[in-house]
């Protein structure tokens, strides 16, 4: 049984950033089935733990995290024969060229620099949710 209980999985260690993201998603009515995990190790356990068959419609992944960073989480997801179909959107503070290149090489589906202005952030989250949750057709 494929578990579609969670539509959006937000992996973000910064509580404040997470709250802003959740607020933005809520404002656009996209946070009904959202799960926030602030620890990347925990997030991997959630995705790959025994007996788990969760397939979120979208993973929002922070790049810079302690212990296991976003790039490593991305690598783990995209190298898994089953879970690699889950769209992963990288959320990051900076537009460092090498991070962008590395993420795309690993098969990231989108790469977004979190804007400082909250109104712009709202816009970004809105477009993100619309596209990945409503427009995009994931493989069955």
């Amino acid at each position: 049984m494929i578990d579609r209980q969670v539509e959006i999985l937000l992996i973000e260690d910064n509580q404040d950033d997470a709250e802003l993201a959740i607020r933005a998603l809520k404002k656009k009515n996209l946070a009904n089935k959202l799960l926030h995990i602030s620890d990347s190790e925990e997030a991997l356990e959630y995705l790959f733990g025994e007996g788990n068959n969760t397939y979120p419609k979208l993973i929002l992944l922070d790049l810079k995290m302690p212990k296991i960073d976003g790039i490593q989480v991305l690598k783990r997801i995209k190298s898994d024969p089953d879970k690699k179909v889950i769209p992963v959107v990288m959320l990051t503070s900076s537009k460092e060229e090498k991070d962008i290149v590395e993420s795309y090489n690993l098969g990231v589906n989108a790469y977004i620099v979190k804007p400082v202005q909250f109104d712009k952030f709202l816009e970004v989250v809105d477009q993100l949710g619309m596209f990945w949750l409503l427009i995009n057709q994931p493989p069955k």
Partner: protein, 410 residues
Amino acid sequence: MKSRELIFHATRVLNHIEQTQTNSVRVEEILAKYILTGDSSLLESYNKEVKKATTHYKSLVQLIGEKGSLQVKIDSFKVVGKRKFELHKKIMNAYKSSRQQAELMLNSHENRASSDKIALVLANMREEENRLLTERLKNGQIEIKYFQATFSVMMVFAFLILVAVFLVINRSFKLRLLAEEKASIVNQDLESFTYSVSHDLRAPLRSIRGFTEVLREEYGPTLGQEGNRLLSIVIRNAGRMGLLIDDLLDFSRLGRKTLTFSKIQVRELVTEIIQELTVHTPREVKWEVKHLDTIRADANMIRQVWINLISNALKYTLKVDKPVIEIGSFPKYGTTVYYVKDNGVGFDMKYSDKLFKVFQRLHNNQEFEGTGVGLALVQRIISKHNGKIWAEARVNEGASFFFYLNNPTV
């Protein structure tokens, strides 16, 4: 002369001596035959041989010319040769009247002695030439030995110099490697510095701005007018700090970038930028875009230069009634100078040295917004292209910015 030439020369001298000897013997034989047979055709052969002998003699004179000891001997040959020729003439004259008389004269002691003398002189010449050759060869060998010694010494010197040069190069190469290593460490430090700045500084800033906006949105109505004004100040300043960080990062990233040159249609670029900059803020600006030469530069960077200069012109003409912005190029200093001229607020030229420095501004933020990075960035780009930028301005009479790149325009 080198020993090879010496030997060759001597061989020629000896050959001519030999030939002269042969010819003189043959002349004697032919005359004897003529006296015996009376065959007049032999006279022709006689003359031929005499001619040959003369030719060899002349060659010898030419070859020996400068050699003192042989010169004396060849002079004696001339004397004995002449004496011989005179004797032969006498014999031939005598033959006309009496064959017997001529035969007697031919076999006379005088004639024989004359032949012997010729042979002796020639033999002496041969001997002398051989002696000279040996002597010269010896000298040549000494010269060769001397040359070899000099050459060896020079080789040793050359080798020592090479070793010294190698050591110096090796040393400076090692120093350079060390410097490069240091520079690379500095670069890496700088890179990780800008990287953390871009990450770590932006994150708290995002929270400040984000939550202030949330606060205003959700609690704005209960905070009153003053409360909302204060929130706006926080939001505005957080935004400004965001811009500063972004600009500073752009500025520091520029240092690491390498240039990729291409030919750029400046007129098209400028027209495009004007459109982009004015599409969202419609204003009455009189644009005077004159002739603009194409340029060889890094496309992205030169685009940034034009964006900054044109948006500056737009910014500082905001408070002018009839803004006019002129953009063009003209040939000077063997290259093309580009300019952006406005009739805006201008500035006092005594502050012109601060114009292109980072975070230095000639207007405060209330008057005109800005981070003080734009022109610093422009100057950095232009100096990366080995070019120059300068400005001319007067307070309230507008400003003109000129620049050229060191690459010849295409």
